[in-house]
């Protein structure tokens, strides 16, 4: 029955003169999301609204699922267009609409008319009253409730007359591409894809960096990270994944620095490299999946020690989240099953039995001096040999 959707967006409506930029980004993201769905669609902006019209046969569920992944959409309303062929015909159309959409009609309702085309013979109030009467005549089991109706039937008089009453919640947030770009440190665990998703939700385009350490981490671990990037890309659009070979740097630190500081120093180098790539690719910030106290390297002191190497802002959207809360989102965005595949990532391979939890920045810096001789060359080599994979959803 439905061939069209009215797309509701919340926040972007209030962005003043920038509004058209936000709407354009939203249209672009909707088109991207629908590319994989079956059928052909037109996405149009009219009267400060966005509509998705199916031009061919399409799968309703799949289309709604695709739209639910577009940040910026607050609601998806399946809408029916009817031609304006007089009020009597409109009454018939409305009765048929309710008959089709609500098999169980033991419900309360309210008509909310809007007359955008002012030359329509009835005004909004009159449409409400008249159509209410028509519905009550057709379905005596229905009752009017103007305060909390079960069904709020929108009737909008435009070039055609638009009928809709269902609102499927969208993901909210802002259209990706309106908020610049950030570099996500993607590890293969549960947290980092969720962190990327959360920042993407605020309209930020996501690129990612993954540190792999062959032979200590396997090809399958890398594939897993590509798969996770894919989950993020389902919401955020194509993700450029930078794969950095970290083995030599890691072994060098292992040779030169105290073992219990290995993780912190290693993470400091990851942040340095990530920032370097981020600057090169015009990112405006870094994103990590850290949450205070989750592991030794995520205590306040450790975070301060790793944060110290960057001048770029580091966004940590999960900072106050418990593991269970993170898992909940991971399940929602379908990254959880992939995240728990048992491949080791490079953060855990050499982890000390008792890593420092309160690193002293001065001591860390002093121990980093031990690396002076060779580290720059190794970092340079890691950057030179990095591989870039464009991950599409």
């Amino acid at each position: 029955m439905y061939k069209s959707f009215l797309i509701k967006y919340a926040e972007i409506g209030v962005k003043g003169k920038n509004r058209y930029l936000f709407e354009e980004a939203l249209v672009k993201q909707i088109k991207y999301a629908l590319k994989k769905a079956e059928g052909e669609f037109a996405v149009r902006r009219t009267d400060g609204r966005i509509y998705v019209d199916a031009l061919s046969d399409f799968d309703f569920e799949e289309t709604v699922e695709s739209l639910k992944k577009v940040f910026g959409i607050s609601g998806i309303c399946p809408v029916v267009y009817v031609e304006d062929e007089g009020f009597e015909k409109l009454g018939e159309d409305v009765v048929r609409y309710i008959g089709d959409v609500y098999p169980d009609r033991d419900k309360t309702f309210k008509v909310a008319a809007r007359r955008a085309r002012k030359n329509y013979p009835l005004d909004s109030m009159e449409i409400n009253v008249e159509l209410g009467g028509v519905i009550l005549d057709a379905y005596p089991e229905m009752r009017v409730d103007v305060h909390k109706p079960d069904i709020l039937l929108h009737v909008e008089v435009r070039d055609k007359i638009y009928l809709y009453s269902e609102i499927i919640p969208g993901p909210g947030g802002m259209p990706v591409g309106t908020g610049g770009k950030a570099m996500l440190l993607l590890s293969g665990g549960i947290d980092s894809p969720v962190a990327g998703w959360m920042i993407a939700k605020r309209g930020v385009k996501i690129d990612a960096v993954y540190f792999h350490a062959p032979p200590y981490t396997s090809e399958r671990a890398k594939q897993k990270v590509v798969d996770l990037a894919k989950k993020v890309a389902a919401y955020a659009g194509p993700v450029w994944l930078h794969v950095v070979n970290f083995t030599d740097i890691q072994l060098y630190i292992y040779d030169k620095c105290p073992h219990d500081e290995l993780t912190i120093i290693m993470r400091r180098y990851m942040m340095r490299i990530a920032e370097h790539i981020a600057k090169e690719t015009e990112c405006l910030g870094l994103i990590t999946g850290e949450s205070i106290g989750q592991v030794a390297s995520q205590t306040m002191a450790s975070l301060a020690a790793t944060n110290e190497v960057c001048t770029m802002p580091v966004y940590r959207p999960l900072i106050g989240f418990d593991k269970m809360e993170i898992v909940e989102i991971a399940e929602k965005i379908d990254s959880y099953e992939t995240s728990i595949l048992p491949y080791e990532d490079c953060c855990t391979i050499f982890v000390a039995k008792h890593p420092v939890t309160k690193p002293n920045l001065n001591i860390i810096k002093r121990h980093e001096q031990n690396l002076q001789e060779g580290i720059d060359e190794l970092v340079e080599k890691a950057l030179e040999t990095k591989e870039v994979i464009v991950v599409q959803a």
């Binding site: 032979p215 200590y216 072994l251 292992y254 073992h259 080791e344 050499f350 039995k353």
Partner: protein
Amino acid sequence: MEVYLDNSATTVCLAEAAQLMHRILCEDYGNPSSLHHKGVEAEAYLRYAEETFAKLLKVNEKDIYFTSGGTESDNIALIGAAMANHRSGRHVITTKIEHPAVLQTTAYLEDQGFEVTYLSVDRQGRISLDELSDAIRSDTILVSIMHTNNEIGSIQPIAEAGALIKKKNPKTLFHVDAVQGFGKVRLYPKKMQVDMLSVSAHKIHGPKGVGLLYLREGAKVSPVMYGGGQQRGLRSGTENLPGIAGFAKAAESAYENLEQDVERMYALREELTKAVKNIPDVVINGCPGREGAAHIVSASFGGVRSEVLLHALEERGIYVSAGSACAAHKPQPSATLKAIGVEKELLHSTIRFSLSARTTGEEIAYACQNLEEIVPKLRRYTRH
């Protein structure tokens, strides 16, 4: 240089087998059950394959049933025997070191109310005939013992077990999973008093997705799949003819120079074992010398994680396995290694090298040389 030492996981397909399969897929593609010429032509391939295996195993050709591989053969043997004989008893005996195709199936039988005894093994991975003898009861309907273990290459005394089982309870069926043994040892089920024998094609340079079950005529086994009644009703479904023909081709080829090939593999295995033993803090698992399989070396490298060693060898073009291939998806330590008493610290430090008749001395030398280089290097960097 590429050195493939994971032949117990799978082998490269024999070119002649692949060519034959291509012809059957594209030209002689008939269904052996069809009445017309195309069907007759197809049936001829099937008959030929049955005859081939009947000859190699010295059994009757109508006792050969083609399946989708070792796992299916094991399933038909175990579930089929249990279902057909549950009125005579509900006791089954197997070992702790069987392949999951057997162990998961016996776990299913336990769920169905059968009682299963799991025989233990010694440090070298061999069962005790005394323990087997004690385990056999009047209600024991089935004993399933693997021929060659897939992880450590230990070989079980199948003929002795067969004699013992039939002596203690003539009604008990004896199944042998010979997926790793077939093609390395000449196996004669009748002589060993084996009622059912599982074989897989892709471990002997045949194609994947095909295997066989030998089932002695008169042994009571129910089908586990129902359909068009092919293969005397035991295994319905259109026969995988290209696979079956390729399988037969590969088996013929494996038997051509079997003794010489096995001799050579034993020599290469010896060389590899010696080199590995030269590396300090290494334990070789399984049976030494001729008591173990010619193609499997299992070694535990103290202080090295097997996955890391595997990937480090991979960087040099050497392909090995950490535990068995089926287990590489799960991080749990291998049941076989636990059963033979490998120390806890070594469970995740164990590598399996598996040879084939095609493995060359040069390849083994290359592998040995790289192992000697890599292992000490990896030991420098460990978790503390």
